[in-house]
Amino acid sequence: MTVPAQKPARKLSMKQRYTALTHDLDWTPTYVKEEEVFPFTTFEGIKVHDWSKWDDPFRLTVEAYNKYQAEKDRRLYAVLDGFAQSQGQLGLTEARYMNAMKIFLQGIPVHEYNAHRNFSYLARYANGPGARFAALCQSLDELRHAQTEIHTLSHYNKYFDGMHDWHKWTDRVWYLSVPKSFFEDAQTAGPFEWLIAIGFSFEYLLTNLLFVPFMSGAAFNGDLPTMTFGFSAQSDESRHMTLGLEAIKFMLEQDEDNLPIVQDWLDKWFWRGYRLISLVAGMMDYMLPKRVMSWKEAFELYFEEQMLNGLFKDLEYYGIRPPRHVDWAIGEKEILSHQVYWILYQYSHAAAFTTTIPNAEDQEWLEKAYPETWPIYKQVVWDKAQRVMDAGGRYFNPGLPQLCTVCQIPMGFTEPGDPLTQCQRQTVYEGERYDFCSDGCQWIFEREPTKYRQSWLPVHQIFQGNCGGPTLPDVAAWYGLQPGDGAEYLGSPDHQAWLEWHGQTTKEA
């Protein structure tokens, strides 16, 4: 046994440890070819010459990562305990606020988990150690987000309807096919497209539009647990943004042939993501008893100002232009939330959230936020819905909506410049007609028709007999909905319970 001439340093610096435990553990395979070890990183056509150029934004060791995250978890769970012990749900602004959280619980955690799965796959199959380690950290983040979101909202499940079967609903209920199809579209793409879809488009381009409204909505409406979860996830999200930006820059810097491929994905995933978060628009403007800002204001600040006038100016250097169909999105900012909520309102009898006509205070706010467009929708749809209500009824659409083949949202979006005529786009592919809500969704279909013709469209599945039966009660039973989960908010079990908790009552004395 030989004694080393020099004693190694007793403790490595953080940076040295990071390098030793990530990059230094990499090796070049000699018994097998590189493409056998990493078989999935060439078929998309992205050319990479030097994987070591991938900068990992996490730059942590697993040990340090665990320490930070454990500390954040401890703080979050202390808040959750305190909230439960003090009956914090009584301090919400109103029970109808929970509808926003129902949509969040039904639509998001399961896809945090899917993101965890796909980043795990990248953590194994990316060729470079920097990319692998960053993907590993993001994979752990996403798993933690799924868990903490579920734990954060589970307290409310004891007191409110619409939260008991979110996992089953995610796979079955019509509006939840919107996020499901979005994530499955990304998961079934290759690793580089995934990075543009989720890492860049979703986590960078659109993340503030998704996250800030939910979390500040929570803060304004007395939902301390969700707000605390938001803060707890925020530092992770900023690293995810950095990773998304790193991914796109890496691809663009590696080879100029990558530019048209990346631009194409950016065009696709901007529109996919934008349509997905239209649900957030409806939630922000119509479901929060206390509003933070309107969808229009959020879109202008977080998208037009920060992304179009900020990020895309930087990306111009690489030859990237703003996403295709972005003008269509800008044109919709005055009408998007009205149209989405009107969809949700008339189909909420088949949903796991409740809706109601905006009350006088809401209407005053809508009038101020949307002086041009609110009066149109008030006159054409809400006044009529109110008349039905005043006559002792409640307007629910008695049928099933035409769905867009790509985004899967009922086709209630309108032609540019015409707020009352729904947009109808059709493409015939191999003798079969397909329907789209917009030029954006039609363009996405026409790029890859053999992918989107497999869309599991809830309405078509119901008509094929795959969803429990032909009637609404059959389908609702197959969805796992119980009375009180959906339909009208006023007079619902949530509403009645709320009034009773606060010493008011809807019941006759």
Binding site: I343, P401, P410, Q422, Q424, R447, T450
Partner: protein, 108 residues
């Protein structure tokens, strides 16, 4: 454009006509009335007479709008897949050119 994949990527439609037997899906769109937030999708027999669709289904269905006058459908202007249609009420949907996932549009 073909889907980029590591194998020959081809999968059938999940809403192909043959999945509905003698029936087909039809989207019925009341143009200019956003009270029905989108066109409505129905499953109808291909052999259903156009008149039966109007009188037995649509005249009842659209009463969900309190301002709807069922008789107004008798004088509606129709289009199928964006082309003008003067329907033959006795003839089947198929004979009137209404196919699987056709857009049947009317204005009042």
């Amino acid at each position: 454009m073909a889907v980029k994949a590591m194998y020959d990527y081809t999968w059938p439609s999940r809403s192909a006509a043959e999945l509905y037997g003698d029936d087909q899906l039809v989207h019925v769109w009341w143009r200019g009335n956003p009270y029905f937030v989108s066109a409505q999708t129905f499953r109808f027999p291909k052999a259903m007479p156009f008149g039966a669709l109007v009188n037995d289904v649509l005249k009842g269905f659209f009463t969900a709008d309190p301002d709807f006058v069922p008789e107004s459908l008798d004088t509606a202007a129709w289009k199928v897949d964006h082309e003008d249609l003067v329907p033959d009420l006795e003839a089947s949907l198929e004979a009137n050119g209404v196919g699987h996932k056709s857009l049947l549009e009317f204005s009042l």
